[in-house]
Amino acid sequence: MVARGSERLELPPSKKTRALLAYLSVTNRSHRRDRLCSLLWDVADDPRGALRWSLSKLRTLVNESGAEHIVSTRDSVRFDQNGSYIDIFAIKRKLAQGVESVSTDELEDLVKEFRGEFLEGLELSDFHDFQAWCVAEREEARSFHTKLLSTLVDRFQSQPEKALLYARTLVQVDPLNERARATLVHLLVRTGHRREAEQQYQAGSRLLAELGSESTGELREAWRELGERPRKTASPEEQTESPPPRAGTQPKRLVGRRVERARLLAALDDAVAKRRESVLWVTGEPGLGKTRILTELAHAASDRGGTVLDGCAYEAETGRPYGPWVDALRRLPAVAVGKTIGSDLAPLLPELAHDETPENSRDRLFGAVVELVASRAHSAPPVLLVLDDIHWLDEASASLLHYVVRMNRHRPVVVALAARDGELPDNEPVQSVVRSLRHERILEEISLEPLSQDETAELVREVAPNVDPKPIFEESAGNPLFALEVARSLPHRQDDPPQTLTELVRDRFDRLPPEAGDVLRWGAVLGHTFSVRRLNELTSMDLDGLVSALEVLERHALIRAEQSSNETEDGYTFTHEVVRRAVYAEISEPRRRLMHLRIAQALVALEGADESVVAEIAHHAAIAGEAAVAARACVSAGRRCLRLFANTEAESLARRGMRYAEKLRDPDRTKLLLELTQISFAANRPPNPEEAAKTIEELAERALDHGCLEHARLGFTILSYLRWERGDWSDARRQTLRAELVSRSGDEKEHVVAMAEAARCLAIIERDLPQAEALALEAGARSARLGIESATIVDAQGMLRLHRGELDEASRLFQHARTLSRRDGDRLGEFQALEHLITLELDRKRYDNACALSTELVKIGEKFREGSEAPFAHALSAYARGDDEALGNLDEAFDELRAADAKHRLAYALTRAAHVDLLHGDAVRARTRATEAHRAASSLGRPSEIAMARITLTRVAQQLKDKEGFKRHIDELRVDALDGVSAYVREAGAISSRKRRFARPR
């Protein structure tokens, strides 16, 4: 609450803006802007813009002339407390003196400052750092509160009625404190409330059992001391002191809203009559009846024989991409979805998958939804798509919504969207869809205003015919939900009536029988909707007791039965999100955490559950502070998002998961971080690949240190993809290659070398370079641990560097590989390393170096009885020397290469010889050689040599003034994309393309 003097100020509707105010004022120090951005907006497109927007709202709220509380500079922001009163600081100051030195009157005043949970309603479970801070602050505030309350209970021992007041609150604030409950039981008995004492005893025992907490025995002891025997728990019916008031029922009829209703119905009729789509945008503050009026619209569409698809977004479900769409689509009968569309919708609705389900894509999925809407618009018009509470809509759902709206312009389709407009700025993807629809002028905006006095009276009479509606209207200011809550509270009014909607709900909740209260708490922690089956697993009640409790809650209009979209289980939903939030806020932080933990554990234990359950596990485990469960669930949920093409959600889950994983010990920490990084990179390429590569390399090395080979391998694979953006081998093939490498190798050393050989092989044939990189990295890291240095590994690394154009590094690696081969007496290895070194020197036009090295290469090559090494060494040597005598012997070398049938080496040598021919003005011979080189390279499918030969042929045509030939080769060069070729070829290709204008050859 923020007040100026006695005037209570209205807080900004944006939750993040309120959270920012709380953070700035409670931390009471200066914060860097970037830190605040990452605290609250790490997924927004423009976090600094979002921060500026929020700060502007806060300045309007708290700044006054002469007192600027929000003080900001270009880089930092702080809250200046001067001239303000912040209750938590007042409490801290008092308690700092020691609670024993504070008078009882003062203590009673301080207790009054606690009017609910500290920072109530500011949970932002997606923002881990903020959430962690918020929980810690709450924990501290709660410890102050319990300290104050227990001191007061002690001080009023001689006045049990007064002590009782504080003991009751203490049990509410600290429900797991057995001693506090035992004291309460004592006090209740002393003051003659035996029945309530028993209820408290039962509730305490049940709580300890449900949450699996260790009992200290104090509660049982207290009960025993009082000479009582616990009776069988009475049913909630027996415990309800009076039957629920009629005011608990819901009004059946829509009251007021005549104009708005007429506009909605007109849109429905226009859609059919004019065959055009309309998009209705219903906004209003909580409780004004957005959902109610949309329900009315849905009934009208059904009455007209139309198709209704309705879904609702929930705050806790942002990790479940397309959640509202899934719910909406599941409401259609299965026959309405044909086989083809069904297959394409399978990523969302797995029950529609067929054996021959084709490979899916986001386009296909979106197309299928549009097709489904189109087919229903044809067979059962109008189609009404209702999406409620879209300020909580996930990015994937928002994109699909935009697409569906765009693609159905001329069909009888009505899209009705409802949102609290004040909370919309917290959701950038939805805001941008709304902006765009508004810009296109297809948004029909319907803003719900409060009801008039007469309408409020009419509404109140629906549920409480005998009360005077006038004060209710004044109190509720025409907000229907508020008015109904006031009407329900009237029979129980005390001197100090509740002031806010939340307080009204909480007041009603406090009067519920204990079992019903417990069920409602579990429901609130489970989410907006919850199933009977799940409640039954979580509460310690038998099914009869549970069902009775649910009936009580239903009669009190706190929940209502709802058939779930997949029709598999009975469920309930809160009558309004305000109700759920009020109940949730009433649960103390430690109890809430334990409840979330129980739910997470129960969900983890589910077998064969719908895979969407992983997002729920992540949500509950995160709040429970179960880092390991939360991180693991984020991995599963993130992978699911990737399968559903919901990259934004996948990345956000990965980021959340990483924060939990960071808290774990190794090796779990490293393993999970690697898995989460893989998800994050698959969703979006990191903005700073070099920095990311460094982190991954460290993680992969650490995984190796812990003996987690699979995860080290994963790390190297990620790393390789950071370096090579493309890959043309399927994962299945990779797995086969890996398996073969293992089966071929005797011990680990052999296995590591086999990996390096496979890497070098891939690099030579220029196929799946990311895989080659991953293999080389893994082989390098593992060989270092084995204390071996293998020439093959080093040579493979050199080949990859050469391909990327990192020539100095490649040269160093080839020289090292050569040294290692000599040390091992590996003649072939030495030949290959030297060959690579010479080709590198030739590319760099360092002919003298190449010449000296090729003399050595010839010596080694001649030691091979068979194969292409000797002739290739001669060819390289001749080319490096470049004199007539050497070049004169080239044909002999070519003949031998042809006889050995070594097409790659032949192509390489022929192209370089053709280059020399061109320099000597012999374009005809150059053409013959380059043509043969091109043929040889093509039959092997080697991209670099194919392109090199083609580049040479282009130059030949230029020299021969062969316009047509030139054009043909240039065109082919464009087709033979230069993307996948080695760096030196790219360079040659670029030079060639600069000379594309035939008219001006040099």
Partner: protein, 84 residues
């Protein structure tokens, strides 16, 4: 595609089925776009001729070295069969 013949000899008789041996290198052969067609193993199991289909003989050399399958000679051949 060419027929490529690989000649091998062993100091000790080869006790495993050559085709099983080749299976271990399926990925490697696939990388080089080659196919193992058949093998002729001498009665004393010390000499062997393997026939591959491959783009060139050099690919077969590289793959055999990578798979640690020793050879003496590798050459490209054309197939001649008697007319019916």
């Amino acid at each position: 595609m060419e027929y490529v013949i690989v000649e091998r000899s062993f100091d000790e008789p080869l006790l495993v089925d050559p085709i099983d041996l080749a299976k271990k290198g399926a990925s490697c052969m696939e990388m080089h776009n080659m196919r193992y067609l058949r093998a002729y193993l001498s009665s004393d199991k010390k000499r062997m001729i393997c026939v591959f289909e491959a783009p060139d003989a050099e690919s077969v050399r590289i793959a055999n070295r990578q798979l640690n399958m020793p050879f003496e000679r590798v050459w490209t051949a054309t197939l001649h069969e008697p007319r019916e």
